[in-house]
């Protein structure tokens, strides 16, 4: 098993060491990642951005998961609702993810809520699709029919039997979803429609570094590295989860 675990950039503390006096210095022993045009320590900014990005992404994924599972399982279980809902989902999926996110984000102005709604709107249809498919498969199992025959209430059937058994592919998909959410969040920030500009986030930092890229390339490199490494780590976790859940895999003792 090829398992390389990168440590994602998770920081528990919050150093507000901004606005020192030195500007545009290359990485040195005093400032590990160098400074930007206002003399702010890049490492601190990247760390704060990390907390922000990770926190937001996880929130968004929870929201997406909630609505996705809700819509998906209902449409998988009840055929008529399913037909209508899936048509809607198809229509939503016809739009490139970026466009919808950009559009919604621009209407609502840069803020935390904007970002959440925009990204959720993009990815919920996809998750709903998946849940729908899984629900369809799981519903045909005999234990569902037997539960119905015994007289278990509909809601209980949905929650205890169907969703519980559908969870493993959902969890795998959610981990990849987290990676995608982080990426799209970075792009939105980069284009200026994500978080407010005074709040440091990875995309923001990269966007502002564009002008000085030849003089101060470290401004570009470090936030980008942070994004890449986090996303890679999440992808690896997702891969591992998927392999673990795969019933075809051989268990090696």
């Amino acid at each position: 098993m090829f398992l390389v675990v990168f440590a994602p950039f998770i920081t528990p503390y919050d150093p507000h060491k901004m606005q020192a006096g030195d500007r545009l210095k290359p990485p040195s022993s005093a400032y590990w990642c160098g400074t930007d045009i206002f003399g702010r320590d890049l490492l601190s900014r990247v760390m704060i951005a990390t907390r922000l990005t990770l926190g937001t992404s996880i929130c968004v994924v929870i929201v997406i998961a909630f609505f996705g599972i809700l819509i998906g399982s209902i449409s998988g279980y009840y055929r008529i609702a399913g037909a209508i809902l899936m048509r809607l989902v198809d229509a939503m999926m016809a739009f490139p993810s970026m466009l919808i996110a950009l559009f919604l984000a621009s209407i609502m102005g840069p803020s935390f809520i904007t970002v959440m709604i925009a990204i959720a709107a993009v990815y919920t249809p996809r998750l709903a699709r998946l849940v729908h498919g899984v629900t369809l498969t799981v519903s045909t199992n005999t234990y569902v029919a037997s539960a119905k025959a015994v007289g278990v209430g509909e809601f209980r059937i949905l929650t205890r039997y169907i969703i519980l058994n559908a969870l493993s592919p959902i969890i795998v998909q959610c981990s990849f979803l987290l990676a995608n959410v982080i990426l799209i969040l970075a792009v939105l920030d980069f284009l200026g429609v994500g978080f407010p500009p005074d709040v440091p986030s990875w995309g923001n930092i990269i966007a502002t570094s564009r002008v000085y890229v030849t003089r101060a390339p470290w401004l570009l490199i470090f936030p980008g590295l942070a994004i890449s490494m986090t996303v890679i780590a999440i992808n690896i976790i997702g891969d591992t989860l998927r392999d673990a859940f795969d019933p075809r895999a051989h268990v090696q003792i």
Binding site: F2, A91, F95, P96, M98, L99, L104, I107, F190, I206
Partner: protein, 304 residues
């Protein structure tokens, strides 16, 4: 396909009516005065009931008239048409690059499964696919334009207009920026498909028939593995559109993607509506085509 297009059209139309209040207010911004808002409302017909607006918009669209851009005062269609060239070339070039590259690497990795070559290329693919595209683009710009000065870093004077084919070099970096993460994804996908196929019986049969390995690969493995890969590449078109938005902004290429960003920032909603409609429409059509190709290539699938 038609019901989806209808739904797509309705969603496109409704998007600018999402917020409470007049779309004209949105367009002119929070500081506009009442008279200009009223003028714009009347001009764009926003004061009429929604279903009337919807019908009117649809009839305009079906005639190919998307209205006039609020910002540039020119017909939306002509702006989009002018910009389509750059985006089209980038999309085509990028698809070409990443398809060939990704599929090749995927096949090679699958053949030499679990060797160090396989591990290394899969790790590389994962790494490349995880990087944000604009970061890759900026890095490429940094390396190839700023430091080495091999390739131009921004703009695109156009090929059809100037008749100068060497202008294509402006598009090399944007193409690569899209192609690199995508090829990682396609490589991983191809590899898993090919691995599945390699374990199937007909491959063993072909080998035991004494066929040369290359023939086995090409005739049997490839033909079957490529089917889902092609389908994926087709559905990837939407992602390419998304990526091109970013890439065109980074490299300052006057294409459709950047037009989207500009019209969002300028609140040019007629253009946006048109763009969304066209892009979504293209996506639906391409998906449909991919389904057909899939059905042709795989004789097991039958469509009514």
């Amino acid at each position: 396909m038609i019901p989806i297009m209808l739904l797509v059209g309705i969603i496109c139309f409704l998007l600018i009516h999402l917020t409470p209040g007049n779309p004209a207010e949105l367009m002119l911004g929070p500081h506009a005065d009442v008279t200009s808002i009223e003028a714009l409302t009347k001009k764009m017909g926003y004061d009429q009931p929604i279903h009337v607006q919807l019908v009117k918009w649809f009839s305009m669209v079906l005639q190919g008239d998307f209205g006039v851009s609020v910002y540039s005062r020119k017909p939306v269609i002509s702006t989009i048409a002018r910009r389509a060239e750059a985006s089209f070339i980038i999309a085509l070039g990028a698809t070409f690059f990443f398809s060939i590259f990704g599929i090749l690497i995927g096949i090679i990795s699958a053949k030499k499964r679990n060797s160090w070559l396989d591990q290394a290329s899969m790790t590389l693919s994962l790494t490349l696919a995880s990087m944000p595209s604009f970061w890759i683009g900026l890095n490429l710009m940094l390396i190839f334009s700023a430091t080495l000065n091999w390739l131009p870093s921004s703009g695109y004077p156009g090929v059809l207009g100037t008749g100068d084919i060497t202008n294509l070099r402006y598009l090399i970096l944007p193409c690569l920026t899209i192609a690199i993460p995508s090829s990682g994804l396609i490589a991983r996908l191809t590899r898993s498909f090919v691995i599945d196929i390699l374990s199937m019986d007909y491959v063993t049969t072909a080998r035991s028939k004494g066929l040369r390995e290359s023939v086995v690969i090409i005739k049997h493995v490839l033909r079957n593995a490529l089917i889902p890969v092609v389908a994926v590449i087709g559905t990837y078109f939407a992602e390419i559109m998304s990526l091109s938005v970013v890439v065109e902004t980074v490299f300052n290429v006057p294409g459709v993607g950047r037009l989207v960003v500009e019209s969002i920032l300028q609140r040019d909603y007629p253009t946006l509506q048109a763009l969304l409609m066209i892009i979504a429409g293209l996506y639906v059509i391409i998906n449909f085509l991919c389904d057909i190709i899939y059905a042709i290539l795989d004789p097991r699938i039958q469509y009514d």
